[in-house]
Symmetry: C2
Subunit: 269 residues, 2 copies
C-alpha cells in the first residue's frame, strides 16, 4: 500500500510543512520507500517531480523543499509497491489531459483483474493497477462527455466509474484538475481545513512545530487530505469508507456519505 497527500487552497500556499512530515514515512517513520512523486498546479500547467528513490532521502525531494513552490492544488504520493516494478513510469501521481485540462491522480490500494485497455484511446504506460484505473476513468469520462460538463456532473460521473472500479479491490484516491480536488475513501483518508483563527501544529513524524499565524492571512483556507493524520494536535476528520468529498478554494463543496461496503457493479448508482 501507499500513502497519499493532497492540498487544496484559496491562496497559493507552500506544502513544505506537511510534506516534510509525510516524506519521513518513506523510509524513516514508515516503509513507503518505493519512490515518490509530487505535482504542483500552476495555472493550467503542472510542475511534477518524481523519483524512484525514497522521498526521505531523495535529492529531488530536497529540491522541492528548497524551492517552496506555492500552489492552489498539490498532490503527493509515497509508494510501497504492490503491483508494478519500482521505476519512474510506475510512480504516482499520474497525469492525463481530459477536456483540455491537466488531471492529476494518486491511488492507495490494490485493484485486481481490471479490464484490458490495449485498444483504448487512453492507455497506461507503466504496469500499475493505479494508472490503469485512472486511464479507465479518463476514457469513461471523455466518452460520456465530449466537452467539459459542470463540476457536479463530473462529480457524479466520477462516483459512477469509481464504484465500478472499486469492485476490483481497494481504491482510495485523490484527484485534481487544478480547480477542485476530489477525494474518495475506501479504507483510510483524513482531512482538515486550516483557517482563521490559526494556531500551532506539531508534526507526528518528527515533532516539527509551526505557528500558522506567522504565515497565513485572515481569509486563507487550506485543506489537507492525507491517508493518516500528519499532526498530533489538530482535529482531523476521517472520511467514511465509500465516501466522496469535493473541495474547491479550500472549502468542502460537496460530499457523498459512504456506505460500509462499496457498491457492486450493477450499472446503477
Amino acid at each position: 500500500m501507499c500513502q497519499l497527500l493532497g492540498m487544496n487552497c484559496n491562496t497559493p500556499t507552500d506544502i513544505v510543512f506537511s510534506f516534510e512530515g509525510f516524506r519521513r514515512r518513506a523510509g524513516l517513520t514508515g516503509c513507503h520507500s518505493d519512490g515518490f512523486g509530487i505535482a504542483f498546479f500552476e495555472g493550467r500547467g503542472v510542475r511534477i517531480f518524481r523519483d524512484n528513490r525514497p522521498a526521505s532521502h531523495s535529492p529531488i525531494a530536497d529540491c522541492v523543499k528548497q524551492y517552496q513552490i506555492k500552489s492552489l492544488n498539490v498532490i503527493a504520493h509515497i509508494r510501497k509497491a504492490t503491483q508494478g516494478e519500482i521505476n519512474i513510469e510506475n510512480t504516482h501521481p499520474f497525469i492525463r489531459e481530459i477536456w483540455g485540462e491537466n488531471w492529476v491522480f494518486a491511488h492507495n490500494g490494490n485493484l485486481k483483474d481490471l479490464p484490458d485497455m490495449s485498444e483504448s484511446f487512453c492507455q497506461p504506460i507503466g504496469s500499475t493497477d493505479s494508472e490503469a484505473a485512472f486511464c479507465y476513468m479518463a476514457e469513461y469520462l471523455k466518452n460520456r462527455f465530449r466537452k467539459k460538463p459542470t463540476d457536479m456532473q463530473i462529480f457524479e460521473a466520477i462516483q459512477d466509474i469509481t464504484k465500478k472500479l472499486a469492485t476490483h479491490g481497494t481504491f482510495n484516491f485523490i484527484l485534481s484538475n487544478g480547480e477542485w480536488m476530489l477525494a474518495h475513501c475506501a479504507t483510510n483518508l483524513h482531512y482538515l481545513t486550516r483557517k482563521a483563527p490559526f494556531g500551532k501544529a506539531c508534526r507526528i513524524d518528527d515533532d516539527g512545530v509551526i505557528d500558522f499565524n506567522d504565515y497565513a492571512k485572515a481569509g486563507d483556507k487550506v485543506t489537507i487530505i492525507t491517508t493518516f493524520p500528519l499532526t498530533k494536535d489538530e482535529s482531523w476528520t476521517k472520511m467514511e469508507n465509500g465516501g466522496f468529498v469535493l473541495f474547491k478554494d479550500g472549502d468542502k463543496v460537496a460530499e457523498i456519505i459512504g456506505v460500509e461496503k462499496e457498491a457492486v457493479d450493477d450499472g446503477t448508482l
Copy 2:
C-alpha cells in the same frame, strides 16, 4: 521563434555539456528567455522539468545541471513566445500518451489557423500553436492505428500529418517515444553524431571545452540535434528544409530528403 535541443544515444549519457551552452541562449547569448523545459526518458517513464523563467537563470535548470541525469533520449526547448502567454502550460516540451508510451515533442516555428480541436479526444491545455499541432498529430496517429504499428509505419504516418500541418506555417520539431528520436526541419535544424575516435569540442556560447575521451567508451554513439550548432570545432550537418530524420541508438536509421517548399495539403505524400 524558439530553439530546440535533442539527444539520442546507445548508452545513457548526460546532456550537461550541450545543455550548458544551449541554456545561455535563453538570456545571455540569445533572446529565447520566455521559459524552458527539458524531458529525460528513463525507461518508459519521463522526468520533465519546466520553468517560466529564462533557462540561463532558472534554479530548475541549475538543478538539472547538478543531478547530471543520464538518459538515452532527451528533448529540451528554450522559448521565445510567438503565440500563447509565458506560463508553465505553454512551456515545451509537451507530453502525451500514445499507444501506451510517453511521447515528448518540442517545436520551433509558427503555425496559424490550425483546425478546431474543442471536441477532440486529445486537446491542447495551453494556448500555443505548438501543443495544438502535437495534439492534432496524436489524434491522427491514434485514429489511424488502434495499436502501435512498426517504426517505419509510424515514420511514414508522421510525414503525412506533418506535411498537412506544415501548410499552416513553419514547423521544425523534435519528437521521441523513448526508443527513437525523429526530427523534422522546415527552416533550421542541425545534427551530429559523436562516436569513436572521440575528440575535443569547444562550445560556441561560452568557450567551454570538453574532451569526450574522458567520458565516452569505445562503442558509444551520441547524436545531438539542435536548431543552430552548439560547438565551433565539430562538423554539424544542416538538415534540408522539408526533410525528416529518424535516429535510434545514436544512429540515423531513416531519412527523407526534403523539398525546398513544404508539400501542399493535397492528401498525398
